[in-house]
């Protein structure tokens, strides 16, 4: 099985971090993977995206042009990538920031008001992880049991509080969408 995942949003929303977390989880599962960031000026604001491929075979091109899973964290990202999603694919939308519905009828859509939730529940700045929780819940792209170990890889031991914070945000995401 190969999952082509495209994560897109504004610079600063944690697009690359979200991808990195998925990549580490896949590494722990001893699967093949690639993680490719956009590394242009978009990293300093503007739109930013990250291709993650998780597979049981060696990964060919690391560039995701036809995602199985699209995580759209803002309107420009949904506008740009909605047409590229494969028929039968999945789109996860931060519905607090995206003011329209997905037009495609041949994909499964999950709307999660993750930015609003993050503010409401005291998880400021990690709406990305709430949205990712929904992805993990519905897509089974990674195994839930690998989450703590993967988080330990991306959040340094010095920031124990951030570790807990991110895990709780993912768990909150399970309940929505």
């Amino acid at each position: 099985m190969t999952k082509n995942i495209l994560i897109a949003g504004f610079g600063g929303q944690g697009v690359l971090f979200t991808g990195k977390f998925l990549a580490y989880a896949a590494l722990l599962e001893d699967r093949q993977l690639s993680w490719l960031p956009s590394y242009g000026p978009e990293m300093r604001g503007g739109t930013c995206n990250c291709s993650v491929i998780i597979s049981d075979e060696p990964v060919g091109s690391p560039i995701v042009t036809e995602p199985d899973i699209l995580i759209a964290m803002n309107r420009p990202s949904l506008d740009k990538f909605e047409p590229a999603v494969v028929p039968g694919g999945e789109i996860y939308v931060d519905s607090s920031l995206v003011d329209r519905k997905v037009e495609r009828k041949d994909v499964t859509v999950h709307y999660v008001p993750s930015t609003a939730l993050s503010t409401e529940r005291g998880f400021d700045g990690i709406a990305n992880m709430i949205l990712l929780g929904s992805v993990i819940e519905h897509s089974a792209v990674i195994d839930k049991k690998d989450i703590p170990a993967a988080m330990a890889k991306v959040v340094s031991a010095k920031h124990k509080d951030l570790y807990e914070f991110n895990i709780k945000a993912i768990e909150l995401g399970y309940e929505f969408g």
């Binding site: 590494l27 993977l33 993680w35 490719l36 590394y39 242009g40 690391p62 560039i63 042009t65």
Partner: protein, 356 residues
């Protein structure tokens, strides 16, 4: 047991260089390869090595000349415009027969160009890039694992043949993360009796120099160098073939282009088209003989490149123009999608089946 870790291609180069004994790095930052310098800046002081951010690329390559002359493993890295600046120094290194690793994580050009991936420095890399008759030994990695492995290989070959070696990557290879197994690789040890290590009053002093005003002497130096080049061409050619044995249409591409082509070849096979992929790992020496052998059965070749068509000339030369070669490319930082390569494969297949 060694464990797989996630690393960016740029970081893998730096770690692999350290693992095989490189303790001297001289460079100047430029996107998309700056992680190499950043990694070296962090690691070198801890292991007694030298990291030096020079005042320019030109200064950096001249520091490489100095360290290489002293016989130590040394490297520099840059991206396209920076490599042009190093060109003079690289020619001097070729003229002095100095081994070192030069990494080019290519970006779009010409001029300052952009910062997105490109392979448009192919001519520059494979034809030397500076003045005079010379080659670099050019290695083209297509994964993070190969970024590490070919770094070690590059140092080994540079030492073995006294030749500057270039690792020719691109922005995607530098920026992407993949699992990599960093084996304890020390590479091969080559004695360097020619190095400037001090005579200890026990031997005649060595001279490292690219200047000779005596034409017959300079001719002899060139001929000697080309004898070594012939050895490299005989011994060090490397390539990968994928589903080529019965293929009518063969894509040829290196680095990121090969990975895109591989997806397209798989998709073509699913449609019943006999497609295959040929990936040069050494760009100089180019795998001419293997490709010519392939031309005995393949009917058409497609050169997949991030350039306006540079490697395609080597493909045509290798197969002695016995088969049609078409170009499938994007430039300026764009990368062809597997669908674009698949369309080129379908078109070639239709020509073959149509008997055109």
């Amino acid at each position: 047991m060694a464990q797989k870790v996630l690393m960016k291609g740029n970081e893998a180069i730096a770690e692999a260089a350290i693992s095989c004994g490189c303790r001297h790095y001289f460079g100047y930052p430029i996107t998309p390869q700056t992680e190499i310098a950043a990694y070296m800046a962090k690691r070198m002081p801890k292991i007694g090595g030298t990291f030096l951010q020079a005042e320019s690329e030109i200064a950096a390559i001249n520091m490489v000349i100095g360290a290489a002359s002293a016989g130590v493993r040394v490297m520099t890295s840059s991206s396209s415009p920076g490599i042009s600046l190093k060109g003079e120094g690289i020619s001097y290194m070729a003229g002095c027969d100095l081994p070192a690793l030069i990494v080019n994580v290519q970006r779009g050009g010409p001029g300052l160009g952009g910062i997105q991936p490109s392979q448009s420095d192919y001519f520059q890399a494979t034809r030397g890039g500076g003045h005079g008759d010379y080659h670099l030994l050019v290695l083209a990695p297509a994964s993070v694992q190969e970024m590490a492995a070919l770094t070690v290989r590059g140092f080994d070959l540079a030492d073995k043949y006294r030749i500057p070696c270039m690792l020719l990557a691109d922005g995607t290879m530098g920026q992407m993360m993949e699992p990599v197994l960093l084996e304890e690789s020390t590479g091969e040890k080559t004695e360097k009796p020619w190095a400037l290590t001090g005579t200890g009053m026990k031997r005649k002093h060595n001279i490292i120099n690219s200047l000779s005003l005596t034409p017959d002497e300079l001719e002899r130096w060139n001929l000697d160098r080309y004898r070594r080049y012939a050895e490299i061409e005989k011994n060090e050619v490397a390539y990968e073939e994928y589903l080529c044995d019965d293929a009518d249409v063969v894509t040829v591409g290196f680095g990121i282009s090969a990975r895109v082509a591989k997806n397209a070849v798989k998709a073509a096979r699913a449609e019943g088209i006999k497609a295959g992929m040929f990936r040069p790992i050494t760009l100089w020496p180019f795998p001419k003989e293997a490709l010519l052998a392939r031309a005995a059965t393949a009917r058409e070749f497609i050169s997949v490149e991030l350039s306006m068509g540079q490697m395609i000339e080597d493909v045509e030369l290798a197969i002695k123009c016995t088969r049609p070669v078409t170009l499938c490319s994007r430039v300026g930082g764009m990368i062809p999608s597997p669908a674009e390569v698949l369309a080129a494969i379908r078109a070639a297949d239709a020509r073959i089946k149509g008997g055109i």
